[in-house]
């Protein structure tokens, strides 16, 4: 989900009109007549007479829905023969010293080639990576969805990882993506060529920094790569395939050019990972129990990717230079709290408890309208107000206690009220 993502709200009156839009009023006699007609027809209906088509999924997919399924590929296991994120990392850590340096160097070269080469296709994995992994696979990216109009893409709730602030320079933008850049449009080509030299210089600086860190580091420290990025504008959203790409050392190094704090954090963390790939392997076990998890923390308005490496080794030392550099950087901003909860969050909070509330008025003709007020700090229900028609009825307390169980993520405003109609079950 994009952060700061809000459900589009209709004008207030339109929302009121849409919510609980009633059917034309009919008398109880008319309803009873209708029910009698149904029952009369049922007497002539034999079991099993309904065709299966009426029980099938009713609706076709929207054309745009195919694209929005892409983020799930992040959580899936790559097909056999393809290098997974964990395999690449394992290769970087398990190979001999020379191979690790080769990995880093090839990564840098690949990144530079990626910048110069406008092809959309991802270049093949550096040979050192494949050799170190002992696999003859290939790195395959998730195909990107077909291009869509700008506004449609903006509205789509997708998992993205983008810098916290709008990146002013293309180099920074690409660096924050930690990915080979997308092919430029024709009008952007001159600017791209002009920036190639600058990008090369940045890469060189990053490579030097990476090598410096690797030589000063004696032993593999804790390998925890955290890419935390707030999404300020959906236009800058990185396609899921980009997030899913292999974290080459080159992309890591490029990230050091990013100006925003999260991007810098990413760069440093990536540098740490790159340096780990070059540490001495004399006492390192060949087979380490490593696993990478890609976590999606999308409940809040901040998209956060956490790549976590778990190691069995108890004796882990941290890299002092890296920590010093990290300490000098401004810490990334705390998770942004939404001004108010989105409609989706409110629906998700009220949906489960609404079923309980509806059971309180089961069998009745109509249900009351309830206004649930949430406390912004805790996200808990502060109060539940029901229609006057329910006052004193047995169902009042039942509904109230059911709705009190709703929970929202905390939000900035002091309170937020949502109205729901508790329809009878």
């Amino acid at each position: 989900m994009t952060s700061n993502h809000r459900e589009p709200r209709l004008p207030k009156r339109a929302e009121e009109l849409l919510e609980g839009w009633p059917a034309p009023p009919r008398s109880a006699l008319e309803w009873e007549e209708s029910a009698s007609n149904i029952m009369a027809r049922i007497r002539d209906t034999s079991p099993g007479s309904t065709p299966d088509e009426l029980l099938a999924d009713p609706l076709p997919e929207e054309p745009e829905e195919k694209g929005r399924e892409a983020p799930r590929a992040m959580e899936s296991v790559p097909p056999a023969g393809e290098l997974s994120l964990a395999e690449i990392a394992r290769a970087a850590l398990a190979g001999p010293e020379a191979a690790r340096r080769e990995v880093a160097r090839d990564g840098l070269i690949a990144a530079e080639l990626g910048r110069k080469n406008p092809q959309r296709e991802a270049p093949p994995a550096p040979p050192a990576v494949r050799d170190a992994a002992g696999l003859q696979g290939r790195i395959v990216r998730v195909p990107e969805p077909a291009p869509k109009p700008q506004d449609e893409r903006r509205e789509k709730p997708e998992l993205v990882a983008v810098p916290a602030e709008p990146a002013p320079a293309p180099v920074s933008e690409a660096a924050a993506r930690s990915e080979f850049p997308a092919p430029p449009s024709r009008e952007r080509e001159p600017r791209r060529l002009g920036l190639a030299a600058f990008g090369g210089a940045v890469l060189a600086v990053a490579a030097i920094a990476a090598l410096y860190v690797s030589f000063t580091q004696q032993e593999a420290p804790e390998a925890r790569l955290t890419a935390s990025a707030e999404t300020p504008a959906p236009e800058q959203a990185v396609a899921p395939s980009q997030v899913n790409a292999a974290p080459s050392a080159a992309a890591t190094a490029v990230a050091s050019a990013a100006p925003s704090p999260p991007a810098k954090q990413l760069a440093l963390d990536d540098l740490a990972l790159a340096s780990k790939s070059r540490v001495s392997s004399g006492n390192a076990p060949k087979e380490k129990s490593l696993s990478f998890h890609v976590k999606k923390e999308s409940a809040s308005s901040v998209g956060k990717l956490v790549l976590e490496e778990q190691k069995d080794n108890a004796s882990e030392k941290t890299s002092a230079p890296i920590e010093q550099m990290q300490a000098q950087l401004p810490s990334p901003p705390p998770e942004a709290i939404a001004e108010r909860p989105s409609t989706g969050a409110v629906s998700a909070a009220l949906g489960p408890v609404l079923m309980s509330a509806r059971s309180c008025v089961a069998g009745q003709d109509s249900g009351p309208r309830a206004t649930v007020t949430f406390d912004g700090k805790t996200g808990r229900v502060k109060s539940v107000t029901l229609d006057a028609s329910m006052a004193g009825s047995p169902a009042e307390g039942c509904i109230r206690s059911a709705l009190m169980a709703a929970r929202l993520p905390p939000f900035a405003e002091p309170t937020f009220s949502a109205s729901v109609t508790v329809r009878p079950l």
Partner: protein
């Protein structure tokens, strides 16, 4: 007393041959099924037919109700399928919402605060008309999902059972439908006080 029994109890009893139990199930859900089909079909007579047909078809398929979903979501699925079949079998497409659209009357008859004000009634009628036009302009998929969530008040989980798609897809469809509806209303001059995306 049948009214106190759960839907599952009623359906189980009906499967065992208790037609009265199914009668209770019909009386419990006929209003909602009628309203759903009305919002999908925009025609009272057709909605009435589909609502009745939905119960008859549900009865004819009781042996295939596997109990994995709630009986009413299963009934809704049949209703949606029947409504879509009716729409697709129409010989002519509706040109647009007319003032005698049953949905408009239904919305305006309900007593809401401010409905006693004639000026407000005119504004609300125009808004309801625009809203109906906007909903009708949505694709079949978006419209059905929006009606189930926004109008009928089903949760995303329930709608995912009705439509047989993931909850995330339901959420996306609702989001997309609302966005398009907001644009439509804005073009019709009803865009004020809507919260914008950020």
């Amino acid at each position: 007393m049948p009214a106190q029994k759960s839907d599952r109890d009623l359906v189980e009893a009906a499967r065992a041959g208790d037609s009265e139990a199914f009668g209770a199930f019909v009386r419990r859900h006929q209003r909602r099924v009628f309203r759903l089909s009305l919002h999908l079909l925009q025609n009272t007579a057709e909605a009435e037919d589909v609502a009745q047909e939905a119960f008859v078809r549900a009865y004819g398929a009781l042996d295939r109700f596997d109990g994995r979903s709630e009986p009413f979501t299963w009934l809704y699925r049949i209703t949606v399928n029947l409504s879509l079949n009716a729409i697709r079998s129409r010989k002519t497409r509706r040109a647009g919402t007319t003032t005698d659209d049953p949905r408009i009357e239904a919305a305006l008859v309900e007593r809401r605060p401010g409905f006693s004000d004639p000026a407000r009634q005119v504004t609300d009628r125009e808004l309801a008309l625009a809203l109906c036009d906007g909903v009708d302009a949505l694709s079949e998929t978006l419209r059905t999902t929006l009606v189930l969530v926004a109008v009928d008040g089903l949760s995303h989980a329930e709608v995912s059972q009705v439509l047989g798609c993931p909850e995330g897809t339901v959420a996306w469809r609702v989001h997309e439908a609302r966005r398009k509806l907001r644009e439509f209303l804005s073009n019709r001059g009803h865009g004020s006080d809507g919260e914008t995306d950020r």
